[in-house]
Amino acid sequence: MKFKKRIKIALPYIILSLIGIMFFIPLLWMIFASFDKNATLSIEWPNDFTFDHWTQIFTDPDILRAFVIGVFLSLGSSIVIVIVSALAAYPLSRFHIKHKDSIILSILFLSGLPMTAIMVPVYQMFVFFNLNDSLWATLLFMSAAALPYGIWLMKNFIDSVPVSLEESAWIDGASMLVGLRKVVVPLMKPGIFTVLIFTFTGSWGNFFVPFILIQSVEKLPASVTIFQFFGQHGMVFYGQLAAFSFVYTIPVVILYFIGQKYMSQGFGLSGATKG
């Protein structure tokens, strides 16, 4: 009897531990192989410990350029999203206009659509306007694709800032734009960081969009370069592939930890989704 009870208490711990191991083992390969001189596809403790794979990644000018382009696309599109979505969300949060609920629902509807489905016509459009292979146009498309969700998040954050503060600013003669910039923005820094981190992470990991819209090898961001590296050398240089993957994953992990406290707020807003 006592034994049975003990098992009952231990069982959840055992199942959760097994799940935890299942989630970690595949990633462990990336960590070990990146330091292993004779890395294979199987997880092995790096007996021949080396930093060579890491130095090779950090000294390869093509890979470094790909990281810079990745930062340009991700940071650029997330800044565009923060500014444009804050402007659009502000009146939606503050004004009592007719059909406001329908507008907000339409934005939510758009945020749900799979952008994968429109990539073929977007490619045609880019070819038609001679925009294909343009990093700026790709940046704008990435911004637009994540914009509906950005507006939705931003509106929730602006809703949480009391309107009374701006009203006193308006009485003092400030315009709406000044009210937004001087009163609302400083108060909703957590919200802005959430949107920034969220969209940066999304763009950083986005492979399909630059894969379709960018053709020149020297314009490709890290998400696509890493795939080409895998196709060309990945089958042989496992250690370098692992190190490349590791380096490419680190910014997202750091951003996650920086944004964790903001993220949980943002997650609550998107998860509870009280419109």
Binding site: L27, I43, H96, G271, G275
Partner: protein, 295 residues
């Protein structure tokens, strides 16, 4: 002058002015392409050659070709398997199981397991594909383990491509469901469970009679949302199996890519896009419908 000021203070005009950058971006890059998807799916437009510049409307030809195409049928079936097994069931069950078992456990243990599960979610899709390629390949970790315990190695990606991509997508997405269900479970008032406990209901009964009915609303909304997100998955399958071997793990997004960019049949590829888009529209409408009733 007064009239102009009144116009400037009109909330509709102001909303329009403030929203104009967003409206322009979304019209140009989302609504425009959606309309083009509908139009081009009725043409014979191609990526190269004569049909690239001078394409013609061909009526329902793309669609009749699609319904006769055995590859289309395969990719529809694969898409359904992928959505149902990984999004609708897999991620939900795993996410719920983790959230449910974690309830009331010691803090450090909870944080550690939560962190491990979240690691699979934070990792970019392309890296997820690589690490699982290593794990499942012929000389990979899984076969090393199997050989260690005296079993025959299996060519997972070749012989079980759909099982592999479904499993990997569960691994990648379970954390999102875990967070959703943790929030939903935290919302259940403790008194209700306590009362049921005192009334003698065992853990199994409490789960089926109290916990599950109480989180039903958020569970349904979450199911639709995750299915919607999974519909657009391309990178994970593309980098892990490439849709193969043959077309054994080709879902609709991969089929669309193959026809449009590998076979240069943009018109046909766009017709496939339209199918994905219509599915997305349907699911998205369902999603906002559930959101409204969830309130």
């Amino acid at each position: 002058m007064a009239q102009r000021r009144a116009l400037r203070n009109n909330p509709y005009i102001k909303t329009l002015i403030f929203g104009s950058p967003a409206i322009i971006l979304m019209l140009l890059f989302i609504l425009g392409p959606i309309i083009m998807t509908i139009l081009f799916s009725f043409t014979d437009i191609a990526l190269t050659g004569a049909a690239a510049k001078e394409f013609e409307f061909v009526g329902f030809e793309n669609f009749s070709r699609m319904f006769k195409d055995p590859s289309f049928k395969t990719s529809v079936i694969n898409t359904i398997i992928f959505l149902v097994c990984s999004a609708l069931i897999g991620q939900q069950v795993v996410g719920f199981l983790i959230a449910y078992l974690m309830k009331g456990k010691a803090r450090p243990f909870r944080s550690l397991i939560g962190l491990l599960v979240l690691a699979g979610w934070i990792t970019p899709e392309i890296v997820v594909a690589f690490v699982w390629f290593a794990f499942l390949s012929d000389d990979g970790t899984l076969n090393t383990i199997l050989e260690f315990v005296g079993m025959e190695p299996v060519a997972w990606l070749l012989n079980f491509p759909m099982v592999s991509v479904v499993f990997v997508n569960i691994w990648h997405g379970a954390a999102f469901c875990m967070l959703m269900y943790q929030a939903a479970l935290d919302d259940i008032p403790q008194e209700i469970e306590e009362a049921a406990k005192i009334d003698g209901a065992n853990a199994w009964h409490r789960l089926w009679r109290i916990t599950l009915p109480m989180i039903k609303g958020s569970a349904v909304t979450n199911m639709v949302l995750v299915t919607l997100q999974t519909l657009g998955v391309f990178t994970l399958i593309f980098a892990l199996t490439g849709g193969g071997p043959g077309n054994k793990s080709t879902t609709l997004p991969l089929f669309m890519y193959d026809e449009a960019f590998v076979n240069y049949q943009l018109g046909y590829g766009t017709a496939i896009s339209l199918v994905i888009l219509l599915l997305g529209i349907l699911l998205s409408l369902l999603y906002i419908r559930f959101l409204k009733t969830d309130d």
